[in-house]
């Protein structure tokens, strides 16, 4: 099993002590293997624990029970910046640094030699077509441009694994589609392993090799759907009947979970009547 990049075994995550009033079971016995070079989406209703699972893989949270191994090394609540890079929403670019300084600081944190900073940063910026904005501050860019820069910042550190936590959630649908295509292009060239959290069905089908559909809280993996379509994917893929079939399949799986999530948020009396 040498081609496994990430191995999640029986991971349970509980916030707050067991038996306490505010205790929440976020993840319940989740196991998942992700192969090298694979693009896996975690798809599920809001609050199902998909971001929690990503944070466990990235070493930002320590699971209550269970283990997570990345390239054979146990991740136990410790980030492994040499192996794993995160891409969050576009708003995690540091607003007090320029675009290029944001890259420099990421490379510095990752422990990469100063002499390489400029070359790496500019190469990543060129890859997303943002090289001429290197000296701008994030607030001077549009939301779509910021997210392009943010993706490039995650890619420039050169890790094999990229974890993306709803990176396009703040974007409008059209920008989202364009960036999705860009991402597919970029990744086809780099052969990275990606775990991508989203609640957009179309995004999941368009980008993934496999989609892990999760249940409402406590999160479990309900089903895994394969998307057999080579990368880079063209927008034409979205027009194929196979795309709508997969999308509908995901929706059918999710519908009950979304209902369960909404019901849990209602007043008990109203739900009962």
């Amino acid at each position: 099993m040498n081609d496994i990049a990430i191995s999640i075994r029986n991971v349970t995550q509980r916030f707050g002590g067991e038996g306490q009033a505010d205790s929440v079971l976020a993840l319940d016995d989740v196991s998942l293997d992700i192969r090298k070079g694979e693009f896996v989406c975690l798809l599920g209703p809001s609050g199902c624990g998909k971001s929690t699972l990503l944070n466990i893989v990235g070493g930002l949270f320590k699971p209550t029970t269970g283990t997570c191994t990345v390239e054979g090394r146990a991740v136990n609540g410790e980030p492994h910046p040499d192996k794993i890079a995160f891409v969050f929403q576009e708003s995690t670019l540091f607003p007090w640094y320029t675009v290029i300084e944001n890259f420099h600081i990421a490379l510095k944190f990752q422990g990469i030699a100063r002499t390489e900073w400029d070359d790496r940063a500019m190469a990543a910026l060129r890859a997303v077509g943002m090289a001429s904005f290197a000296r701008h501050y994030p607030e001077q860019l549009s939301v779509g441009m910021r997210q392009r820069v943010n993706m490039a910042r995650g890619i420039c550190v050169g890790t094999d694994i990229l974890l993306m936590d709803e990176p396009f959630a703040a974007l409008d649908e059209q920008t989202r589609m364009v960036l999705g295509e860009d991402l597919s292009q970029l990744l086809a060239a780099t052969k990275k392993t990606i775990v991508f959290v989203t609640h957009s069905l179309a995004e999941a089908v368009f980008l993934s090799d496999r989609i892990a559909v999760m249940t409402a809280r406590p999160g479990k993996i309900k089903t895994i759907i394969d998307v057999n379509e080579p990368h880079p994917r063209s927008p034409d893929f979205m027009l194929e009947s196979r795309f709508s079939e997969l999308r509908n399949e995901c929706y059918a799986l999710l519908r009950d979970e979304i209902r369960a999530t909404v019901a849990a948020q209602r007043d008990p009396q109203v739900a009962g009547s």
């Binding site: 600081i105 944190f109 550190v157």
Partner: protein
């Protein structure tokens, strides 16, 4: 932008001109007694005489030294206290309301106490200015560091940043704008309370000389000192604002 700033400047300058004109008319026509308000030319002549004296420069040195000491104490104590408090949720809940409550008390009430403790010399004014300036600096430091956003810290940690990296590159730059506002407010409160304290009770300094000139019925000399303080605070204000803008626009 250029036009509106020009308009703003014109209004500000006309305000100064109206005040100066009213002063000139009121004193030169004799409608206000010279004992209360001497005409501008007498005050200007008094300023010229004043700056030529050794006593003037030694008074200015005393006051500036007092302000500097008071501000440095307030800055170090305020920033440290504020920062340490934000590291603990419990301390924030218990101590932050106490600090903002204390700040509403007129600290001037404690000036006699400071004189009792530290004597009538510069020491009591240092304590008074430092105490007054401590509160806005501590409270703004708390505001600056407690609004630090979790998402930036998480991003930094995921990149492998250690505790010092997080402080130096995430917490501190994020807190800087509010931190600087606190320092500016603290500085001007310090400036005002040292001068006020000197005027009320002291043996030396600019404030002491203002009070002395009034007691000796030398209005021109008193206004000369007051003009000097006004010019100094206007200049300081401009300097501090430009420093603040330079740091902000970084």
């Amino acid at each position: 932008m250029e036009g509106s700033s020009f308009a703003a400047r014109s209004v500000q300058l006309s305000f100064v001109a109206i005040v100066a004109g009213a002063w000139y008319l009121a004193s030169e026509t004799g409608s206000v007694s010279r004992l209360f308000l001497p005409p501008p030319r007498e005050v200007i002549a008094a300023i010229e005489r004043l700056v030529a004296t050794q006593a003037f420069w030694s008074a200015v040195t005393v006051t500036l030294t007092t302000i500097t000491k008071a501000f440095v104490i307030a800055l170090v104590a305020g920033v440290l206290t504020g920062y340490v408090l934000t590291r603990s949720k419990l301390a924030m809940r218990v101590i932050e309301p106490v600090l903002s409550g204390l700040f509403t008390i007129p600290i001037t009430l404690f000036l006699p106490m400071f004189i009792l403790f530290f004597g009538i010399g510069a020491g009591s004014k240092v304590a008074y200015g430092a105490t007054y300036a401590f509160f806005p600096i501590a409270l703004n430091t708390i505001a600056a560091f407690s609004k630090a956003e979790e998402r930036y810290l998480r991003a930094a940690r995921s990149m492998g940043a250690g505790a010092w990296d997080c402080f130096r590159h995430v917490l501190l730059p994020g807190a800087m704008p509010v931190l600087i506002t606190g320092m500016r407010i603290g500085f001007f409160i310090c400036f005002a309370s040292v001068l006020g304290g000197e005027t009320i009770s002291s043996v030396a300094g600019v404030g002491r000389n203002i009070a002395l000139a009034a007691e000796l019925m030398e209005p021109a000399r008193m206004y000369a000192w007051i003009m000097f303080v006004i010019l100094t605070s206007v200049t300081l204000n401009m300097v501090v604002y430009s420093v603040e803008n330079r740091i902000r626009s970084r």
